[in-house]
Symmetry: none
Amino acid sequence: MDFESARGLLEELLPFWRELTEEEQEKLAAGVGTKCFEAGQPIHRGREDCTGLFLVYSGQVRVFITSDSGKEITLYRLFERDICLFSASCMLRNITFDINIEAEKPTCALLLPTALYERLSRANPSVADFTSQLMAARFSDVMWTMDQVLFSSFDQRLATFLLEQAGIDGGETVLMTHETMARHLGSAREVVTRMLRYFQQEGMVELFRGGVRLVDLDRLERLSRF
Amino acid sequence: MDFESARGLLEELLPFWRELTEEEQEKLAAGVGTKCFEAGQPIHRGREDCTGLFLVYSGQVRVFITSDSGKEITLYRLFERDICLFSASCMLRNITFDINIEAEKPTCALLLPTALYERLSRANPSVADFTSQLMAARFSDVMWTMDQVLFSSFDQRLATFLLEQAGIDGGETVLMTHETMARHLGSAREVVTRMLRYFQQEGMVELFRGGVRLVDLDRLERLSRF
C-alpha cells in the first residue's frame, strides 16, 4: 500500500483524525507500516507481544481464548476496515487476560505502532476517547458471545426458522427482512441481524438485500436439532 | 459524608485528580453527590438509566447479566474504594449489552454525574485514559468469569465460589440457599445441591439449614486451583 492510500485509510478509519494537528497527522502517517499475514498465522499471542493497533484492510481475523486443556472459544472476528485493539493490549495496563489473534484468511493491515499511538493518546483526548469506544465495542462483542454460549438457544431457533421457511418456499432462500424474522421469533431486529452475520461468518448462509440464502444445510440442520 | 471527606476520597480514588486544573477540581468536588442503597436494591438496570460513576465507599455491589429465562451470571463484585463504570454506560456509545447492578449489602457511594464526567473527559486526556483503564479492568474481570464458566468443571467453580463467598464474609460459613448459589453460578438448584452433598461426603463442607460450613479449606483450595 502506497503512502497516499495509507493516509487515506487512516483518515477514513480513525474518527479522531480531524481532531489532530497537522503535525500529529504527519507523524502518524509517517509512522504506520504495512503488515501481511498468511491464513492461520498468529498475529498476537497472550500478553507477550504488543505490536500496536492493526487497521485491517483486507482479509479476516479471528480473536479467541484457549483453556489450559486446549479448548478454544472464538470471541469475535474482524473484517476489512475493522481495527484490532488487543494487539496493543500492553497499553491497557489493566488487561490481565490472554487473548489470541490469528489471520483466518490471508490478511493485510496497517500497523500503528503502540508507542506512537500512546504518545498521541496522552496529548489528545479524542484519541483516548477513541480507545474507550473501541474497547466498549469489543467488550460488547464478547458479552454477546458469552450470552450466546451461556444462555441462548436463539441460534437454534433461528436455524430452525430459516429451514422451515425455506421449506415452505420450496427452495434454499428466505425472502424476508430481518425485521419480519424478528417479529416471527418474538425478538428484535438487531438480534436477528447479529445472528445472521454470525451464520454468514461461519459459512452457513449468505446474506443479500431482502433475504438469506442457505448454503450449508447440513450444519443448519444439526444446529436446529441440537 | 461531608464535603471535605468527599473531596479527600475523590483525591484518593481518582488517579487523574492531580492532572486536573484547580478549577476542574472545584467543579468536580462541587458536582458529586452521595447515594445510599439498601441490600438488594437495584443501582442500575440494563441500558436505561445512566446516572454516572459510583465511587463505592461502603458496602458491596454485585454486577450481573440475566438471560431471557431468568438465569443470572455474576460478572464481578465491587467493594469499598471500587468504582462502578457501567452505571454511566451511555457514555460508552458502543456498549450494546444490558448489565444489572445491585447493592448486595447496604451500600453508600459518591455519585459523579455522567454529564460532568463527560465534560472533564473531553477536556483532559488523563480522564479519558482513566475510563479506558477502568474498562480494561472490568473487561478482565468478565473474561475471568467467562473462563471459569466455559472451561472449568462445576466442582471447581463451586469450590471457588464458596471460598470467595466465605472470604467476603470473613469467616468459614456461607449463609446462602442452594437456590441463590445456583443463581449466582448460572446453574440449577439440583446441580448445586448434588455437588454440595458430594463435597459433604468427601468431608470438605458441612451442610446446615440456610448455609454451608467450609471444613477442609485446603482441599477446597486445591480443587478451586485445579
